[in-house]
Symmetry: C2
Subunit: 121 residues, 2 copies
């Protein structure tokens, strides 16, 4: 799979799983993984707890940009879109960055995850 | 300098230089550097040409998030803010991601740069 194919498959899987059951995202993160969510830093197993704490969310992806990272085993992914949080009907714009690092053929974990809301407001 | 200090100094330098004279950004990029600007991919020396082609811009930074990358020599930086382009008085919101890679003590180049504006909601 090309980096673009990996990125598109990851993005679809990540947000579909997040919206259905954030608990199931646990397999994407390792102890060294980092999430910065609206400026709040969380690491390792704290990441899924943080994502679950947001409650019911529905993401709509607008753009996906992909670049190879500085090591051949890693991929940079940059996403923009909108998200409805809880019972709110007004979607908020978001941007989110991931760095995926390979753990073997066709397998990756999320090393970096930075999320910001209200981009575009 | 900590990663946070490097990131803040870089962000201030990058946007101040961009707004004053984008030509002077050339020293931040190498032949392997990549820019994705609103989905358009440019590499190496094409990056400064692309940034210059945007014309007169004025950036205002709102947030800076920093994470260590998957190699000790690299830093992830995630910026949101607003930018006035050309003679437009309405600022547009943007988000931008950088990966800086060390080239020696206290010296970095931009390996990854992804930029997205918020129009076309």
């Amino acid at each position: 799979m090309s980096a673009e194919e990996v990125a598109k498959a990851f993005v679809q899987h990540f947000y579909n799983t997040f919206d259905a059951d954030a608990q199931q995202l646990g397999g994407l993160f390792q102890s060294s993984s980092m999430l910065t969510f609206e400026g709040q830093q969380v690491q390792g197993s704290g990441i899924v707890e943080k994502l679950k704490s947001i409650g019911k969310v529905t993401h709509t992806v607008k753009t996906i940009d992909v670049q190879p990272s500085c090591t051949p085993s890693a991929i940079m992914i940059f996403v923009t879109g909108s998200v409805q949080i809880g019972g709110e009907t007004n979607p908020l714009h978001f941007c989110e960055m991931f760095q995926l690092v390979s753990t073997g053929p066709g397998a990756y974990y999320v090393h970096n995850d930075v999320f910001r809301l209200n981009y575009g407001l």
